[in-house]
């Protein structure tokens, strides 16, 4: 067990009674409960945590929070490996094993660091320019770039962790539990509103946790927990703000427990929150200062240094140079000083800092160098000294440079209010020159910022703003502490130094890169982002964005508001794909619908086909049978004896009312006036554009009641379509629709023996063809069960569809199975109907096919209007060269064309070809002993007899155009 040489003997919000062992890059260390990985590493004196993305420069911990660009680590490996986590956000647990990303073999010796020496060769836009080179060049660079680029390792197997999802509603959502957020949640809670308070950290407290006066927030939290109407979500980061106050938050439920996490709890939970109004108390993010080699490990944000010493009782250094352009870093200097860190100097870029804490620092005898800047750093894997020089009034360097030995540089370039979520809400931003920051302006949604995210940087103002926002009262703006107008980038003394003034640490974007991009014409901030990658990556430029665009503005001679910001988009924090998917994985990915006969199909070895969400038996292979053999056997059984098929998935709609017949007349192409009770009729339904939408049989139950069937895949769509016409266009029609798809099961009994079979199963339905003709239906008992029997056919054989209550389906099926029948699946049905040339919706139709294309002009009633009729009257619809339905017979009867194959009029010449059609259905027909196909071909049967050519991968197949009715074209079997 290693000692923690940089841990203070007392203090901090850590539990010293719970030491935790962990490893980093294979070395073992110890920290305490309450540590983050970053604070535990610092306690052990580990500053070098990784290498930068492009130049592979050594990098240390910059921040103490979500804005961290450098300390990016990978936890675990393989399928459960988690790439690209911020060490500043990873809570320590026993056995945690982390590695640096982006360096190999490790951050101490990284083979790719050669980039650092060659980095003049990889300027801004390098990747961009590389991509733009001739295609031939790419393969030369790709292996190099692939090896160098990318953060972390993608998991190599399915994610074994469990992720949940939760929908929540509240009157007030408060984001952030710092002083403003706590005050807002309390005020909203006291008003009786339903409140959710979400904070990315644990415990709540926000900036208070890192300040020396870390009290008070405990009480506020306790007060909130006592209120039933307030839900506090810790470890929960709100990542997205969408329309109508819909927000997404990610709760890290057990991440902090590591392997000790209880198995029944999810790793993370995605919250989908609908809020009446939103208080964004998201705080502010400190900005780095831009000077040469400002990325040396040991250089960190002043507020972070303060948080490490106060919250974690960790000394981030022994001798510090604090460099700042604002007052806030003085508090950090004082806290570090108080805990025994030697302050080599406070370097203040301003000629004169005058806040109360400046005075305190002076009183404490700290060395303050006003009007000075850190212009460079020394050291390799850890900062050894800060080079300091005086600045002229115009920001240029003056006088001599002195080196201040130190092992910590704590810097502050001011604070950027975290306006990300406000911006995502659609809110506009305004630039406040006094604060040197973008502040929230107006949101079209009920969103309001409070506290530091609104530019209020002192605790009292934060609490006051939070209270007002939580109570829904108008708030007075807090006092503004104007910042001095100092330069955004400290000049360097050498060209090499100029090139190493980092703005965006994660993407290695320097001030020089931004200046170069501006010179090359990338003057828009959106172009700058894409050209230099400024603000991309896992931290989304939380620290570097404002300095970056300020430097762009300076280079272009524009003001910062003129340059503007890039758009803030979700997510604020990266979200694992697993968390987005939640439990929508594996068998729960999408609903599955099963018929009442599903269990029987399963027990009898059916292979299932997905039809929409339905599982339908595709075929029932017997032992040793291939698919082709099983389908052939099932087809022949129907043609020669009898088969039964589960047709329960067909849509069934009860159409009821005095205007039902008129309604059918309007939505189907054919006429319904003469359809008497006890009879049924085939109908074709078109869209208003004249294209075939659906087909099915409708039975007249009584004068005012009809039962309409739809195809399986279109059941919901057709029901919605009919309701739409009734409700929106024809509210005067007295018609009610009720979906009965789920109430009834349908078994199709088909084949020459089916009449005899039906007769054996019923006493009260006479199947004799003269009393029960084709396209009639009868009500009675089948196998003792109340049933409606429809004599209709999709196979070309005598066929009955027996409809019973879904609860009776298994009894009916069992009764049928006591006779000589063969269960057949959808594939046999497809083959049987194709032999007859019957169309199948979704196969022969694709939304571009009219009834005329299908040679079904006879279905179009000329004496009435119907949906789609006018469109069919357009001249282009009658063009004989439209693609029309034909049959295809391959020259070689054994060849089965692939469905979707393209068709040519002439053999392929090798030049680009003009296709004249495509194969829509294609099968091996056991009945005919040869292959058959249906196709849509320009000119249709005008081409018959004629040969077409179907080019496949390895050969071209010749086929003859023919009548699509391959079998029993006169329908003698059907009517027999």
């Amino acid at each position: 067990m290693t000692a923690q040489p940089h841990r203070l003997p007392e203090g901090g919000a850590i539990d010293r009674s719970r030491p935790l062992g962990f490893s980093f890059n294979g070395r073992r260390y110890t920290g305490f409960a309450g540590d983050t990985l970053a604070s535990a590493l610092l306690a052990n004196g580990v500053h070098l945590v990784g290498r930068s993305f492009k130049y592979h420069r050594p990098r240390g911990i910059l921040s103490a929070g979500t804005e961290e660009p450098n300390a990016i680590v990978q936890l675990g490996s393989g399928a459960s490996g988690l790439p690209n986590l911020k060490a500043t956000r990873v809570e320590l647990y026993e056995g945690l094993a982390a590695r640096s990303v982006n360096c190999w073999p490790g951050p101490w010796f990284d083979l790719a660091a050669v980039n650092g020496f060659a980095h003049r060769l990889i300027p801004a836009g390098f990747y961009y320019k590389t991509f733009m080179w001739p295609h031939r060049g790419w393969h030369l660079y790709e292996p190099f770039i692939r090896r160098m680029a990318g953060l972390g390792r993608a998991p190599d197997g399915p994610d074994p962790d469990r992720y949940e999802r939760m929908n929540a509603h509240c009157d007030v959502l408060v984001v952030g539990a710092g002083p403003a957020g706590l005050a807002a949640a309390e005020a909203a809670g006291r008003s009786g509103a339903r409140v959710i308070l979400a904070d990315e950290d644990c415990p709540p407290g926000g900036m208070l946790l890192g300040s020396a006066d870390a009290g008070g927030h405990g009480e506020a939290t306790a007060g909130l927990e006592a209120m039933d109407n307030v839900r506090v979500l810790t470890r929960t980061v709100v990542t997205g703000y969408y329309d109508h106050n819909f927000l997404i938050a990610l709760e890290r439920v057990t991440d902090h427990l590591g392997p000790a996490a209880p198995a029944h709890l999810p790793r993370q939970r995605l919250w989908r929150i609908r809020a009446g109004r939103v208080v964004l108390a998201t705080g502010a993010l400190e900005r780095p200062l831009v000077f040469a080699n400002n990325d040396r490990p040991g250089t960190m944000l002043a507020g972070a240094a303060r948080a490490y010493v106060n919250r974690f009782a960790v000394l981030p250094g022994r001798r510090a140079v604090v460099v700042t352009d604002n007052d806030s870093a003085y508090a950090a200097a004082l806290d570090l000083h108080r805990h025994g860190v030697e302050i080599a100097a406070i370097v203040d870029l301003r000629p004169d800092g005058d806040g109360t804490q400046c005075a305190e620092a002076r009183e404490a005898g700290l060395n303050i160098l006003s009007g000075h800047a850190v212009i460079d750093t020394a050291g390799r894997r850890r900062v050894r000294a800060a080079r300091v020089a005086r600045l002229n009034d115009d920001g240029s360097l003056a006088g001599t440079v002195s080196a201040l030995p130190c092992d910590l540089i704590a810097m502050s370039g001011g604070w950027s209010p975290a306006v990300h979520l406000f911006s995502q809400s659609g809110g506009t931003l305004r630039y406040d020159a006094a604060l040197r920051a973008f502040l929230p302006d107006v949101s079209p949604q009920a969103a309001r910022c409070a506290g530091a995210s609104n530019g209020a940087f002192d605790t009292a103002s934060c609490i006051a703003e939070g209270h007002a926002a939580g109570a829904g009262e108008p708030g007075a703006p807090g006092p503004v502490q104007p910042a001095a107008p100092v330069s955004w980038a400290v000049p360097a003394r050498s060209r090499a130094g100029e090139a190493r003034r980092f703005v965006d640490f994660q993407n290695d974007v320097t001030a020089a890169d931004i200046e170069l991009a501006a010179r090359e014409g990338y003057e828009s901030v959106e172009h700058l982002k894409r050209y230099t990658t400024l603000g991309m990556g896992t931290d989304q430029g939380k620290t570097g964005n404002v300095p970056g665009l300020a430097i762009l503005a300076g280079t272009l001679g524009l003001s910062i508001p003129e340059v503007g910001t890039t758009t803030f988009r979700p997510p604020y924090e990266p979200v694992a794909f697993g968390a987005i998917a939640g439990r929508d994985v594996g068998p729960l990915a999408d609903p599955v619908r099963r018929t009442p006969l599903h269990a029987w199909h399963e027990e009898n070895g059916a292979v299932f086909e997905d039809v929409g969400q339905w599982k339908r038996p595709f075929y029932y292979p017997q032992e040793g049978e291939t698919k082709d053999e099983a389908v052939a056997r099932e087809c022949l059984a129907v043609r020669n004896a009898a088969g039964i098929m589960d047709a329960s998935t067909l849509g069934k709609i009860l159409v009821c009312g005095p205007d039902a017949r008129e309604f059918l007349n309007r939505v189907y192409t054919n006429a319904w006036d003469g359809l008497a009770p006890g009879r049924c009729r085939y109908g074709l339904m078109l869209g208003e554009d004249g294209m075939v939408l659906d087909d099915g049989v409708t039975a007249c139950l009584s004068e005012n009641r009809f039962l309409t069937t739809t195809t399986t895949g279109n059941a919901a769509r057709v029901f919605a379509w009919l309701e739409e016409w009734l409700q929106t266009e024809w509210p005067d029609l007295e018609v009610y629709l009720t979906s009965l798809t789920e109430q009834f099961a349908t078994v199709a009994l088909a084949g020459p023996d089916s009449r005899k079979l039906l007769g054996a199963l019923t006493d009260d339905i006479d199947p004799a063809p003269d009393v029960f003709p084709f396209m009639a239906w009868r009500e009675g008992r089948v196998a003792g069960l109340p049933a409606r029997v429809f004599r209709i056919s999709y196979t070309g054989e005598v066929s009955y569809e027996i409809v019973v209550s879904a609860g009776d389906a298994t009894d009916l099926w069992a009764a049928l199975m006591t006779h000589e029948v063969t269960p057949f699946g959808t594939e046999a049905m497809h083959v049987l109907r194709a032999e007859k040339g019957y169309l199948m919706i979704g196969q022969e139709t694709d939304g571009t096919v009219t009834p005329l294309d299908l040679d079904m002009g006879w279905m179009l009633n000329k004496k009435k209007d119907f949906i789609g009729r006018r469109s069919l009257a357009r001249s282009a619809m009658r063009d004989p060269m439209r693609k029309r339905l034909v049959g295809l017979r391959t020259e070689d009867p054994a060849t089965v064309l692939p469905e979707g194959a393209q068709i040519l009029a002439e053999p392929p010449s090798g030049a680009p070809e003009t296709m004249i059609g495509h194969v829509t259905s294609s099968y091996r027909s056991a009945t005919l002993g040869r292959s058959i196909a249906l196709a849509l071909v320009k000119g249709g049967r005008d081409r018959a007899p004629g040969t077409v050519h179907v080019p496949l991968d390895d050969r071209t197949v010749r086929a003859e155009i023919c009548d699509p009715k391959f079998y029993d074209p006169e329908g003698e079997r059907l009517n027999g």
Binding site: E164, M166, V592, T595
Partner: protein, 179 residues
């Protein structure tokens, strides 16, 4: 030590009779005829149920209701409605076999549903006597709060029942006990 209480209990209800009724609530004669047959007036208020003895009527839409009766009474009630409404424009469809109902109860029943539903299930808003059609994990459902025990009745179309059961069991893993 006692067995830990489960956070949520759910089970399939015995089969029940259901009738889908459609008609115009603005037509007094329709309402009167329906009420006569049912012994209860179809609730005119959106997303509310009404019950008396063995009969529950749930509002499905401005001109649609679901009538729940004991399974053995389903056809008799449907016939009574048909007779009573024979001269009105109305639609009566027996639907009992078309769906499956679960009862859910326990302190985490609401959380369980909230995992898959966007409805606001706040007990002050979705009170006893409330019902709503919505989606649960992409499955069309009818949720009813008959009272406090069971807390909820969840009706799903028959074809989705197995999937819905799998989903509920999976979602309930987290609430296996309340310790």
């Amino acid at each position: 030590m006692a067995e830990p209480a489960r956070g949520v209990e759910f089970r399939v209800c015995p089969p029940r009779g259901r009738i889908e009724l459609r008609g115009d609530p603005g037509d007094g004669a329709f309402v009167e005829a329906a009420s006569n047959a049912l012994g209860l007036e179809p609730p005119p208020t959106p997303n509310r149920s009404r019950s008396w003895a063995d009969t529950v009527i749930l509002w499905l839409g401005p001109d649609a209701w679901l009538i729940e009766v004991p399974a053995e009474a389903e056809h008799a009630v449907a016939r009574a409605l048909e007779e009573s409404l024979s001269d009105r424009h109305a639609s009566i469809a027996v639907a009992g076999a078309g769906s499956v109902t679960w009862s859910l109860t326990g302190p985490r029943a609401r959380d369980l549903l909230a995992k898959g539903m966007t409805l606001d299930l706040d007990p002050e808003r979705f009170r006893a006597g409330c019902c709503a059609r919505s989606l649960l994990a992409k499955v069309p459902v009818l949720l009813h709060r008959p009272g406090n025990d069971p807390l909820y009745e969840l009706t799903v179309p028959r074809s989705y029942a197995e999937f819905a059961r799998d989903w509920l069991e999976d979602a309930a893993l987290e609430y296996a006990d309340t310790r």
